[in-house]
């Protein structure tokens, strides 16, 4: 497609490479900074960006020659970390041109992540890009490519549900809480039992704005300690049943062998709350809350299996959304390729215009010298006339050349223009 310099990508990720290899190949921030300048000083490499996260090490580059470039980058990664190439060949993947573009779009849109749709990767790609920019190892093509990748990621996020659904127990619980209560800020949570997962879920809720936290445990000291760390207040285990109406969200995680919360207790609580909803999360095994509680109006009870089912369903949905995300990515890859393929024509177009402008300026100068009787306004008018004439004449050839360079015989047109205008003299 492209006769000039090409885009390539060389890397390893969590799908191709076990962690014990990945960790050896990872670049720390300091190593990245050193490597960027080292790579760009090679005559083969025009631009490069290094992306190194715990799940992937990838180098994106624009090189003079695809095959040589790929070899060079693979050698570089191995040499830099002092590992022999032979053992690693099986792990590397490499892509060029539109495949490399597609890969980057997939990575930044989190389609290539271990947890599909996770938000972290986009930030990591952005960091990699800004580091490379600050070391001037990027140029027009990689700048355009990465900026585009960020737009694509945003579009995928907005137009598909790829990141919409929580894929951990605590995020699914927070999502449910937000579908029941909207704004969590004015709501309260009560922990009954101080299990690790309950604590995690509570922290998650607090990070979404929950301000009031009550903690009850059979051992008051543990309740007090956890309450302190969550900035909440500890309750005596015996009294939590009377206080349940105060909480909008109740998370139970005790080691009790039987149900400790029954229908009657919640029924009383809901009456005291004047029917304001209660969201009960029972992550204890065996369960703490009698399942019939869910039958009560304005009460929503989820046990650990319910939450796990939600998580599984969400995973499947993300998988489905990934398909619509791929549609967006394919469209954007085509658009980017269009832009990339017109690049070949640009130096020729610039030269062609410069050549014409030189001729015009020379001829106008020559003519005006012999026409001293003209006013400066007249001279300016002649200048403008000739300028727009040149522009008009070159307009169609410019457009057509851009179009033609995307076809297989594009280089013939470029050569023809260069010959016809004597650009290579």
């Amino acid at each position: 497609m492209n006769s000039g310099p090409n885009l390539i990508l060389v890397g390893v990720n969590h799908k191709t490479t076990p962690v014990e290899i990945r960790e050896k190949l990872a670049f720390t921030q300091v190593k990245i900074e050193a490597s960027l300048s080292q790579l760009v000083s090679s005559p083969e490499i025009i631009e490069n960006i290094i992306l190194s996260t715990c799940n992937r090490v990838e180098i994106y580059a624009r090189v003079e020659n695809t095959d040589r470039g790929i070899q060079l980058l693979q050698d570089f990664i191995c040499d830099y970390h002092g590992i022999s190439r032979g053992n690693l060949d099986q792990y590397f993947y490499s892509y060029c041109d539109n495949q490399a573009v597609e890969h980057l779009f997939r990575v930044s849109s989190s389609l290539d992540s271990m947890v599909l749709g996770e938000a972290q990767i986009l930030g990591q790609v952005k960091d990699a890009y800004s580091t490379a920019r600050s070391f001037s190892s990027t140029g027009m093509v990689l700048n355009q490519l990465f900026e585009k990748a960020f737009n694509v990621a945003k579009k995928v996020r907005e137009e598909t549900g790829i990141s919409e659904r929580g894929v951990s127990i605590s995020s699914a619980a927070v999502e449910l809480a937000k579908k029941i209560f909207e704004d969590l800020e004015n709501h309260s949570v009560m922990l009954v039992g101080t299990g690790e997962m309950a604590e995690l879920a509570a922290k998650h809720l607090i990070s979404y704005g929950v301000k009031t936290v009550y903690v009850a445990s059979r051992t008051y000291e543990r309740a007090a300690a956890l309450a302190k760390s969550l900035n909440g207040c500890a309750l005596d285990f015996e009294s939590f049943k009377e206080e349940m109406h105060r909480a909008d969200i109740i998370i139970t995680s005790t080691a009790a062998p039987t149900f400790i919360v029954n229908e009657e207790m919640i029924s009383t609580a809901i009456q005291k709350r004047k029917n304001k909803p209660i969201f009960l999360i029972d992550i204890a095994v065996p369960r703490d809350i009698a399942p019939e509680v869910n039958e009560l109006e304005n009460v929503y009870l989820y046990d650990i299996d319910d939450l796990q089912n939600v998580v599984n369903a969400n995973m499947e949905e993300r998988q489905k959304e990934a398909e619509s995300a791929m549609e967006i990515i394919n469209q954007e890859v085509t658009k980017f390729n269009y832009w990339f393929s017109t690049l070949d024509a640009i130096p020729t177009i610039v030269e062609m215009r410069n050549r014409a402008e030189d001729m015009r300026a020379f001829e106008v100068d020559k003519t005006l010298k012999n026409m001293e009787h003209l006013t400066s306004d007249d001279k300016e008018a002649i200048n403008q006339l000739t300028q727009s004439l040149v522009k008009k004449i070159l307009h169609k050839p410019t457009i057509n050349l851009k179009k033609k360079t995307q076809s297989h015989d594009g280089h013939i047109y470029l050569k023809a223009i260069r010959d016809l205008f004597h650009l290579d003299d």
Partner: protein
């Protein structure tokens, strides 16, 4: 001219209804914006149509059955816009605008006969009665849409089957709050409409409460239903699913009453 703008409004609402439905299922932001634009266009031509029609007939848009239905649809759109501006519930349009379209469509088949135009003093009470009742009904129709959305969302959360609508619809709290707010606006207006209607009746030399059972009883029932929701919320905490169910029941009764009256 008023007929042309009426048709523009009718088709804008139809386009917006379809658009909002597509948005609900396929989530394309552009479709949502286009649908919003179609509703705006609909409201503008709707307003023009009402204005021109009133200019031609020489009376307000609350005299013939056709006008009343059209005026009701207009108020629903206005309240919808206010709600949308305050709550930013994008998918409310999927439930409200089809209703607007239906009311508009039905109005085409309704009588355009003004009947006897009563003398001015009586006419004042009749105008008050109809305008206030129409605004009340419009508010109730938003409560109806919020109620349906509430029941859909509530069913998802309760049954633990979290489908596509779970993610797209707003939270139960927001829907319940919306339900309450519009009934809080609609109920007093409807009550005033009811009272002015009775005054109109007395001015017409009839009893304060004309016991035309077929006409008055449904109104009393509507009033009782919304009154129950209105006062129930404040006293016993009638909210959530029950409030949503009452809002739907109330609106179904409203539709019945509406057809009895026109």
């Amino acid at each position: 001219m008023d007929k042309i703008s009426f048709s523009v409004a009718l088709f804008s609402y139809l386009a917006a209804s379809l658009g909002y439905f597509v948005y609900l299922v396929y989530r394309r932001p552009l479709v949502s914006s286009l649908s919003g634009g179609a509703v705006a266009l609909g409201l503008i031509s709707h307003t023009v149509s009402i204005g021109l029609h009133s200019a031609i007939t020489g009376h307000g848009p609350y005299t013939t059955s056709y006008e009343i239905a059209m005026f009701l649809a207009w108020f629903i759109v206005v309240i919808y816009f206010l709600t949308e501006w305050k709550y930013k519930i994008k998918d409310l349009g999927s439930f409200v605008i089809p209703l607007v379209f239906l009311v508009m469509l039905v109005s085409v088949f309704l009588s355009k006969d003004a009947g006897l135009v009563p003398e001015s003093e009586v006419r004042f009470w009749l105008t008050m009665h109809r305008t206030l009742s129409i605004i009340g009904y419009a508010a109730f129709s938003i409560a109806f849409a919020a109620g349906i959305m509430y029941l859909i969302q509530e069913h998802q959360v309760k049954s633990k089957k979290l489908g596509i609508m779970y993610f797209r619809m707003p939270s139960l709290e927001v829907l319940d709050d919306l339900n309450f707010k519009v009934i809080t606006i609609g109920f007093p207006l409807f009550t005033l409409g009811f009272m002015t209607g009775s005054i109109w009746n007395t001015k017409m030399d009839q009893a304060f409460f004309s016991w035309d059972l077929a006409k008055t009883m449904p109104m009393v029932i509507v009033w009782l239903i919304y009154g129950l929701v209105f006062f129930g919320r404040m006293t016993t905490g009638l909210r959530g699913k029950k409030a949503a169910q009452f809002a739907i029941l109330g609106f179904v009764t409203v539709i019945g009453t509406f057809f009895l009256h026109i």
